[in-house]
Structures are given as C-alpha cells and as structure tokens.
C-alpha cells in the first residue's frame, strides 16, 4: 500500500507519461516477485509446507502415534483403549480389524474403515510424527530406512493410492476430512519429489 501511495505521488510530480512508464515498471517487478518458481529446491520447500499441513492433520496424525491411537479432531486417546502390539494391529481380543471394516466406513456404528481387509493399523514405530518439527517430519518421511524403503516415486504412489491415506479424504461420520483436495496434495508431493525432496532446516 505504501508503495502505491508513493507511486501515485511520483506520477503526480513527474507527469502522466513518465508516471505510466513508472507504473508499468512497478507492475512488472511486482508480478515477478509474486510468481512462484515451480522448480528446484525453492519449489520443493514451498510444496513441503503444504504437505506438512496435511500430514499434521488429525486424520493422519492420530494413527502415527507411539502406542495408542487418538480419536477425533480433539485428538483424545482411543476409546476403548487399544495398544500397538507386536504387529501394529493390537493385542488379544482388541485387534484393529475386530471393529474396523475392510470395505469402508460403517455408517451405522460410526466405526471408520478403509478399503481392504486387515489394513487398519497404527503406523509403524519408525513413523511417529507426533511433536516433530516440519523439518524433522520431512527428513523422516524421505528416509528410506524409516519409511518402508520408499523412494520418491514410491512416496508419490503411496500418497496417491494407499487406502489408509485416501481414507483421510473420506473419513465418514462427523470427522473433518483433510482440507486440501487430494489431487492438489498429490501435485504438491510430485513438486516436492521433483525438487529433490528438500527439507526445511
């Protein structure tokens, strides 16, 4: 705004034609500043900001927990209490699949489910996202020693088609879906990968 005021004063002082040249120059510069570079590390960093916002949404973060999943947008401990167990699927008579359907959300009981039998589980212990800074989350996500051996292409595929990931956009009940449209999210992941999976320091 300050720029506009001083520009208008300049136009008044210098006359219309000189002012018009000045205005055109200012608009060109302003437009260049506003253009997002869609390649390389800067683009990857910009994309990562959006990706981190999705990964830190309750629909994702609630199951990327150490031992007990959380529930709801308020992110309280899962009721009834369930724990990870040796295979990330619970223990004893409290296994994830005992309630969570293989073919989707159960509208009657409100119990969520993702397509495919036996998929519902806590994220592996190498993928605990709770409390991480954006940079640490980024480094964890791309670390093949911790992310299930996924390179960039595999990460894109995971975010594009993994049923548990897709569930975040179709959570059923009164759960808030991930706010960013899924195709936009996938595009951000592709930009991040193309830009070298750059992470904030």
């Amino acid at each position: 705004m300050t720029g506009w005021i001083s520009l208008c004063r300049s136009i008044a002082k210098a006359g219309l034609s000189a002012g018009a040249v000045l205005l055109a120059t200012w608009l060109t510069l302003h437009a260049q500043q506003g253009t997002i570079d869609r390649s390389g590390a800067p683009a990857a960093l910009a994309a990562w900001d959006h990706i981190a916002g999705v990964l830190q949404h309750p629909r994702c973060l609630n199951c990327h927990q150490e031992n007990v999943p959380l529930q709801g947008d308020m992110r309280r401990v899962h009721i009834p209490l369930v724990v990870r167990g040796p295979d990330n699927h619970g223990v004893g008579a409290m296994r994830c699949g005992n309630c969570h359907n293989g073919s989707g959300n159960n509208e009657t009981s409100g119990t969520p489910g993702a397509g495919g039998p036996g998929l519902w589980q806590l994220a592996p212990s190498s993928m605990l996202w709770q409390g991480l800074s954006s940079g640490d989350l980024c480094r964890m996500l791309k670390d093949t020693a911790r992310n299930g051996g996924r390179d960039g292409a595999k990460l894109i595929e995971h975010m594009e088609s993994e049923p548990l990931v897709l569930w975040g956009w179709n959570p059923g009940g009164d759960r808030t879906p991930v706010p960013m449209p899924h195709d936009e999210f996938v595009n951000e992941v592709k930009t991040w990968v193309a830009g070298g999976m750059t992470c904030p320091s």
Binding site: I79, P80, L81, V82, V83, V91, G92, A93, M94, R95, G97, N98, C99, H100, N101, G102, S103, N106, E107, T108, S109, G110, T111, P117
Partner: protein, 151 residues
C-alpha cells in the same frame, strides 16, 4: 442375497451387505445369545468370532463377513472354550449376565493367542468388554483359572 457361514452351517440371507452383522445374526438367523449393547463398538456385548478372532458384530458389516467363519456363543467349542466355560462356572463370574456372552468370546480369543496371560495382558486384551456389574475381578480370576486348566 448374502451367504454366511455361521456356526458351521451356511445361511442365505436377503439383507443389505452393509447391514451390521449383529442385526443379521439376531433378527435373521435367530441367534440371540449375542447381545446388543451400544451399537458403536464401545462395550463388547456383541462380540463374536470371525475366523477365530473376537469381532464386534455391531460394527462389522455383513458383506465383510462373507467367506469367513462366524462363531457365536451358542456354538463356540474346543479346549479353550471348555476351559473358559468351566472357569466361569467355578468362580461364578456372572452377575446380571448381559455382557458375559461377549466377555467369554473375548476371553477365548485372548487365551487362544496367549496361554499364560498376566494381569496386564488380560486388562489390555479385554479392555473393550465393559461390565456394568463390575465383575472384572472375577473375569480376570477366571481367565487365570482357565489358563491354569489349559496348562
């Protein structure tokens, strides 16, 4: 038409595949030993076995149970079931009894996977089965009793 394997027999039901399994078992197959408690997978009263695993019949859709073996309290059998049943009777676990069908089904699953559960194993493994009468101490004791019987 949906075809289910319930207690060793095939039943053909004209129901919506997204109907809760509990509705089908109670209202269409006529097996009322499995109880309706909360309908939200929070209380465990509706616990049955699907392929030997304790499952909440109120929250599993009929379509997801197709091709699997469903066992209810009316037909559960075998050494673990026998040991649990005997322990329940010996320690007189039941008070009002409404939750006990689910408690027993969960206890059988727990003991099938872990023949020597400690108190923590029992608490975590039975967490989803609520008893309004508060028979938890007797349930825990009966599971230990059944475990010792099984050896």
């Amino acid at each position: 038409m949906v075809s289910l394997n319930v207690n060793g027999r095939i039943v053909d039901l004209d129901v919506n595949p997204r109907m809760p399994l509990l509705w089908a078992l109670r209202d269409f197959v006529g097996l009322t030993g499995t109880k309706f408690g909360c309908g939200r997978a929070l209380c465990g009263a509706c616990t049955v076995h699907i392929d030997g695993q304790a499952a909440r019949a109120c929250s599993i859709m009929v379509g997801d149970a197709v091709g699997k073996t469903i066992t209810t309290i009316e037909a559960v059998s075998g050494p673990v079931a026998d040991a649990v049943r005997a322990a329940w009777q010996k320690l007189d676990v039941v008070q009002c009894g409404y939750c006990q069908s689910g408690q027993i089904m969960s206890a059988i699953t727990l003991l099938t996977g872990n023949r020597k559960p400690n108190d923590e194993d029992i608490d975590l493994g039975m967490e989803g089965n609520i008893c309004r009468c508060g028979t938890y101490q007797r349930i825990r004791a009966a599971i230990h009793e059944a475990a010792s019987t099984l050896g």
